[in-house]
């Protein structure tokens, strides 16, 4: 593969928007449009990467490699630790990349409503996108961490400045939880770095697979590293005891940011778990599969039960996210092709569905100024288009066949029943609960008594219909023709197991 700069251009592309925005006067009429335009360029570049990505060969593509810096010790100056700048994409990361640029673009549309200090918002928004793109194209743990922290800082400012009433608290707990996660990740990175002298992900995967524990890291160390990784990404995913920050962010953050948060940011947790957890420590994962599966079931059921009693739509969706991420864990825990594929599918599919749901919540906030379920109701007759989309999104979320949610849950559970039938049957209960809380929430909004207060409310506008329709059609497309994901994914090659 010859050298190309495509990926560097891709991750730097949001900078163009940032620069243009920062030279524009803050009260300019077109500042919001400029912000949206800023996300178009990365989307176009991602589409190019997506279409140029060769699905017939294995391995990392679009590789870029530069030496970045070396750490030399005075005692052994000839064996420097080299930190490199290397980028590349695998089938797995291409999918996440696509998800990230698409949702960022659609989310930027919903922020067009923003009136106050839109300039700062879009600058940080694009910075967040830069971080997200970087996370998914890093072929190197050091860079991965670097971009991960960029998303952290920009997200902190976005939530804290433009969020709801309790925004500062939400931003703070976001920062602290994710700060802990990222520091744990850093420890894992450094231990691997000092032992293996490289941070390249593919190299590490190969090295860790080929060497037994006597040569490099002992079995115990590997287990510890795996546990640290699990906590680091578990905070992000989130796995249940670490979920409070995520609910706060879901409830407080501005809608455009929540779309990215629920749609992409949380998915970094799944991505990390699949790419590093499964890739680096397959044996440790196998040993702890039962623990993971139990954590998954807890996530699934806990999220579902709590979602059932929420009286506020955003909280319902937040807990629903937790519940759905349980399925990702279950898929990973099953540790076979079907299960892992299910985990990836579920991550992508939930990213799309959550983005759609929050997009519609944004409409609710804009029109009805409340997200309390009891204050909403009967809008089906006043805003039929909106109600239709909401219902469709709800059905996708509960796993209606023909939509992406179904195929992912099906695969995940297929894998799980193969390896752990008992846990699988407990988990099925969660799926039933999903239907219950989702329909409860959706129906409470759309049906019921017609409220005169909402008469004359505007239905979806063009700017809202387009993104909703795009998301919904992709959801249905994946549901009907899942090969669109699996062709690119090439799971056996990407992660290197099963198949």
């Amino acid at each position: 593969m010859n050298e190309s700069f495509l990926l560097t251009i891709l991750i730097l592309s949001p900078l163009l928007g940032i620069v243009l925005l920062s030279v524009m006067p803050g009260n300019h009429r077109f500042i919001n449009y400029m912000g949206v335009l800023g996300t178009v360029l990365p989307l176009v570049l991602t589409l190019i990467v997506f279409s140029l990505f060769d699905r017939t060969v294995s391995g990392v593509q679009f590789v870029e490699y530069r030496q970045w810096f070396e750490l030399m010790t005075s005692i052994s100056p000839n064996e420097p630790y080299t930190v490199a700048y290397d980028l590349g994409v695998t089938g797995l990361s291409v999918l996440f990349l696509m998800l990230a640029s698409l949702i960022t673009f659609l989310a930027s549309l919903t922020a067009l409503r923003l009136k106050e200090s839109a300039k700062g918002f879009y600058i940080l928004f694009l910075l967040l996108e830069l971080g997200l793109l970087g996370v998914f194209v890093s072929e190197n743990l050091f860079l991965f961490f670097l971009f991960f922290e960029i998303t952290l800082v920009s997200m902190f400012l976005l939530v804290g400045k433009w969020g709801g009433f309790n925004r500062e608290k939400a931003a703070f707990s976001f920062m602290i939880y994710n700060g802990i996660g990222s520091i744990l990740l850093l420890i894992v990175i450094i231990v691997l770095f000092v032992e293996m002298k490289t941070t390249n992900i593919t190299e590490l995967t190969m090295l860790l697979k080929e060497t037994d524990s006597l040569e490099f890291l002992s079995g115990d160390t590997r287990t510890w590293l795996f546990v640290l990784l699990l906590i680091a990404f578990g905070i992000k995913l989130p796995i249940v005891p670490f979920h409070t920050w995520m609910v706060r962010v879901h409830v407080e953050a501005p809608i455009a940011v929540v779309m990215i948060h629920a749609g992409v940011l949380l998915k970094i947790g799944a991505y990390g778990l699949l790419r590093f957890g499964v890739g680096f420590f397959p044996q440790q994962l196998k040993d702890m599969a039962v623990v993971l599966a139990i954590l998954g079931v807890i996530n699934l059921l806990y999220g579902a039960f709590i979602a059932l009693v929420q009286t506020e739509l955003r909280s319902v969706l937040a807990y629903s996210s937790i519940s759905h991420m349980g399925i990702v864990l279950l898929g990973v825990a099953s540790f076979n092709t079907a299960g892992l594929q299910g985990a990836v599918f579920q991550t992508i599919s939930h990213g799309l569905i959550a983005a759609l749901l929050f997009l519609l919540v944004g409409v609710i906030v804009d029109r009805f100024h409340t997200t309390k379920l009891e204050e909403l109701g009967g809008v089906a007759s006043q805003a039929p288009l909106f109600a239709g989309f909401l219902l469709a999104a709800g059905l996708a979320s509960l796993g209606l066949p023909g939509m992406s949610g179904f195929i992912s849950e099906f695969l995940a559970f297929l894998g799980l029943f193969e390896s752990m039938p008992v846990i699988g049957s407990v988990g099925i209960l969660g799926l039933i609960l999903t239907a219950v809380y989702m329909l409860r929430a959706v129906l409470a909004v759309t049906f019921g008594e017609r409220r005169p207060l909402f008469d004359g409310i505007r239905d979806l506008t063009a700017v809202e219909i387009v993104p909703s329709a795009i998301l919904l059609s992709i959801i249905i497309w994946i549901g009907v023709y899942p090969a669109v994901l699996s062709n690119t994914l090439q799971l056996a090659r990407t992660i290197g197991i099963g198949g």
């Binding site: 810096f69 010790t73 922290e149 960029i150 925004r167 703070f172 602290i176 700060g179 802990i180 520091i183």
Partner: protein
Amino acid sequence: MDMETLLQYEWNSMWPEFTILLTAVALSLIDLFMNKKKDRSLLIWLALAGIAVAIVCLVLQFDDGVVSILNETYRLDSFAKAFKFLMLIGTGFVLLLGVPDESTSVRGEYIYLILTALLGGMMMASSADLITLFVGLELLSLSSYVLVGIRKTNPLANEAAFKYVVNGGIATAITLFGMSYLYGLTGETNIYEIQGLMGSDVVTDNRFLAVFAFLMIVVGLAFKITAAPFHMWAPDVYQGAETPVTAFLSVVSKIAGFAIMLRLLMVPFVFAPGTGEIITPDGISYETLLVSVRPYLVLLAIVTILVGNVIALRQLNAKRLFAYSSIAHAGYLLVPLAALSELVFEAVWFYLTAYLLMNIGAFAVIHVMSAEEEVTVASFAGLFKRAPYLTIAMSIYLLSLAGIPLTAGFIGKFEIFMSALGTEPKRYLLVTAMLAGTVLSYVYYFGLFVQMYFRPSKRQTPVTISNGVTAVLAITAAGTVLLGVFPSIALTFIHDHFQFLEIFNP
């Protein structure tokens, strides 16, 4: 010693010191004979010129080998050069901070006392003898005491100066006490002679005394670098002193402290026998002293990190907050030392460079804001609206202090983590403490973010920034980012010019 021997010495190796000394003397004379009503800002520019000349002299010496003069009491090796370089740059920034604008004036004493303090620091970095080391330490300390109390009528400054004198006096006494044991064991004051004699039977028979000497020296120097539990003076002194002086104490004085600590702890004791016995086929031998005392150093580092970060959480006064933050950073800097890593000199030097940039920058921001009121955390409220560029600079320093990537602070912290995990056995305890400390520090660093960006401001007026401070802000912010993005600038610089292991060769 006759004239001939004196002239034989390679005096040119002391040019940086001579330059500073001459500048300080000249400035004190000019200040004395200058009309009292005349503006003193000329003196600052002269001092800066002196520092610039000293830096040039030092840079010209970079690739020379080890030079030892004055009966081996003064020694110019890579280690000394590296640390002197940092101190000179740091003092340059501090002087720039003090450049007065229309509304303020400057005192002559302030300028030449900073120079004499710097001279003390440079002597500390360069001495190979307990006596000169101690003289350097005292020169730095005495000048700092006066600097802290220079605002005669301010009660806080008086309290600070008093505390500083008493605490500092005790600390130097303890160091001296430790040194006296070294002298007693070996009969030498030259640390390289001591290094050679440490393996002798006398020392082996009295190895507990060697350990005691080591610990006494550590305790004394721990005051200088504000390591807990010997940090109590720092918050009061930082608060009471003028902000440029605080910046000097928290950066230059600390760099000098680490320089002396590394040399005085590593060099004489490197071959000394410790307390633990190792049974070998040839009989009983002793582990090295540095291994025996490691638990104490580890403890010191951990306590410093935790105390600094935990107490910083509750601080409302900005200077006190940064006092505790700098205590925490002293703890991070102790980690490579406590880990006895092979990266120790590189890691400490790089982190000190990063620390110099980000901490001077942060104090520059506080200096700007202290023109309005006593700076508290709440004074930062709405700063972004009033002074966006100042806020962005402050954000860079805070991110760097918190160790977020793309800043110098992150690379420094990364290197420290590497040093703790790259040695066998891995120092998980130290790493855990640093981890906890880093996460705790997010709370107060990002707390300032909350103030600057999210909260509304009480004042509406824009902030005025003098030219000197603007220069400091620009250089430090740019440097912090530059070293974060292209750390190889500093890393290859160290590699090409400094052979730190020279420090061990007599």
